[in-house]
C-alpha cells in the first residue's frame, strides 16, 4: 500500500526543462564546468606529482615502521601509501600512510588492552631549511575528526602514543590511538603542530564541522586531510567512542561532539581526490 501511494508522486513534466534552463543560466554567469574540471585535473596532476616526490624522497611507511623496530606492524603497511604533505612554520609533514585494526603491532601496551582496535599513522617530518631534525624540533601529531571539537577529541583523549627516529635528517614517527576507522565516512585529518592541545592551533566550523588551522597561530600548524574507506564507517562504534570521551571529560563539556553524519553528505560524497588536491604544497 505504501508503494502504491508513493508511486503516484512524480515531478511535474515541465520541471525538468525549467531546471535545465536554470542550470544553463547559472553556467553562463560563472566559469564553465569544463574549466573547473580542467582546473581540478591540473590540481590532481600536481597533487600526484607531490605524492610521487614524497614516495621518492622518503622511506615508505613499511620501511619507516621497520626502521622503528615493529616488523609485525610493518607487514600491515605494504602498498603504495598516501604520501600527502603539508608545510608551515619552517616544517614539512608528510603522512605516509594509515592503517587500523587490532593486534597489528608487535608492541602491545596498556592502551591495547583498553582499546584493542587501534589506528596507526606513519609520518615523515622535516625542516624546510634542510637542517636535520633534532629533539628541539618538538612537533605534536594528532588525528582530528570532522564534527568533533579538537579540544576534546585528539591524540590525548584517544589514548595515543608515538615513537620516533631520525634517519638522514628526517624524523619518522608512528602515532597510534584508539581506532578512528569508525569515522571513515567523514573528513579526517592529521594535525602536526607546535604546542600541546590541538585547540590552540585549530578551529572547527560550527556549521560544517570542518577543521582548519588558526591563521594567527604562532608556530607551525599543519593540517593534512586524508580519507579512509567509507565502507568501514561504523556509527555505533563511533557513538560509543564519543560517549566514552565525553564521559571522561569534565561534566561541563556538553559541546564535546555530536555525531553529525547526515548533515554534510554533499561534502563527504565528493571525490576523495578533490579533498587531497586541496592539501597541495609546493615541493622543492
Amino acid at each position: 500500500m505504501y508503494n502504491e501511494l508513493f508511486e503516484k508522486m512524480t515531478v511535474d513534466d515541465g520541471l525538468k526543462k525549467k531546471v535545465e534552463e536554470r542550470i544553463d543560466a547559472k553556467m553562463k554567469s560563472k566559469k564553465p564546468l569544463i574549466f573547473k574540471a580542467a582546473l581540478l585535473a591540473a590540481c590532481m596532476a600536481l597533487a600526484l606529482s607531490a605524492a610521487a616526490f614524497a614516495a621518492y624522497r622518503y622511506l615508505s611507511a613499511e620501511g619507516a615502521v621497520r626502521e622503528l623496530g615493529d616488523a609485525k606492524l610493518a607487514e600491515s603497511f605494504k602498498g603504495e601509501g598516501m604520501n600527502i604533505s603539508a608545510e608551515d612554520g619552517g616544517y614539512r609533514a608528510t603522512l605516509l600512510d594509515v592503517r587500523s585494526g587490532s593486534e597489528l603491532s608487535g608492541f602491545a601496551d596498556s592502551a591495547d588492552e583498553l582499546s584493542p582496535e587501534r589506528t596507526y599513522a606513519v609520518l615523515a617530518l622535516e625542516r624546510t631549511d634542510g637542517a636535520e631534525m633534532t629533539d628541539a624540533d618538538d612537533l605534536m601529531v594528532s588525528p582530528l575528526i570532522s564534527g568533533l571539537n579538537p579540544q576534546y577529541f585528539n591524540v590525548f583523549t584517544l589514548g595515543g602514543s608515538s615513537v620516533r627516529k631520525t634517519i638522514d635528517g628526517v624524523e619518522y614517527r608512528i602515532v597510534d590511538c584508539d581506532s578512528i576507522e569508525c569515522f571513515a565516512d567523514r573528513p579526517l585529518y592529521m594535525a602536526v603542530y607546535e604546542g600541546m592541545t590541538p585547540n590552540s592551533a585549530y578551529v572547527m566550523d560550527g556549521e560544517s564541522g570542518l577543521i582548519s588551522p588558526k591563521p594567527d597561530c604562532e608556530g607551525a600548524n599543519m593540517l593534512i586531510r586524508f580519507a579512509l574507506d567509507p565502507q568501514k564507517a561504523d556509527h555505533d562504534k563511533a557513538q560509543a567512542l564519543i560517549d566514552r570521551v565525553n564521559e571522561e571529560m569534565s561534566p561541563e563539556s556538553t559541546d564535546g561532539g555530536s555525531l553529525r553524519v547526515a548533515d554534510a553528505p554533499e561534502e563527504y560524497s565528493e571525490s576523495e581526490n578533490e579533498a587531497a588536491a586541496s592539501q597541495l604544497i609546493v615541493v622543492e
Binding site: M9, I23, D185, H235, P265, E266, S271
Partner: protein, 163 residues
Amino acid sequence: MNDEERAYFSAAWDKYADAVFRLGMVWLNNRADAEDMTADLFVKLMQRPRPAFESDEHEKAFFIRSAINLCKDSLRKRKRRRAEENEGLKEYASSAEEIGLAEEILALPPRYRAVIYLHYCQGYKTAEVAKMLGLREGTVRSQLARGRENLRRRLEEGGVKLV
C-alpha cells in the same frame, strides 16, 4: 551545459528526480516545496565537479542524502505552511485507505516518515537508512516497529487493514 553535461543531467534526472521528489513530499508535505528542493538539488549537482561514484547504489545514496539535507534546510527556512501541511501527501490519495495512510504518515515527525519511506518504498535496509539519516540502526528498527504498529492499530481502528 555542453552535450556531455546535458546528457549526464538528463540521465540523472530521469533516474532520480522522482525518488528525490517523493522524499521531499514525505519530509516537507508540500508539493511546491518538494519540487523546489528537487530543482535545487540538481542545479547544485551540475554546478560542481561531478562526484566520483563507486556504484549505482553509491550514486543513489548520494542523491537521497543530499535531498535529506536540503529538506532540513527548507524546513528551517519555512515561515508558513501550518495551514498547508496536510494538503501535500493527501492530494495523491484516491481511496479512503490511502487517505487514512497519508494521514497516519503525516502524524509522524518528518524524519520518522523518511524512515518508513526509505525502508518500505526504496527498499533500503535498516543499516542503510540509519546511515542516511544519521541515526543508530537500533533506533531505526524500533521506529519501524513502533511506526508500523501504530499505523496498523490506528488504521484498523478506522476499519482499514494494513497490507
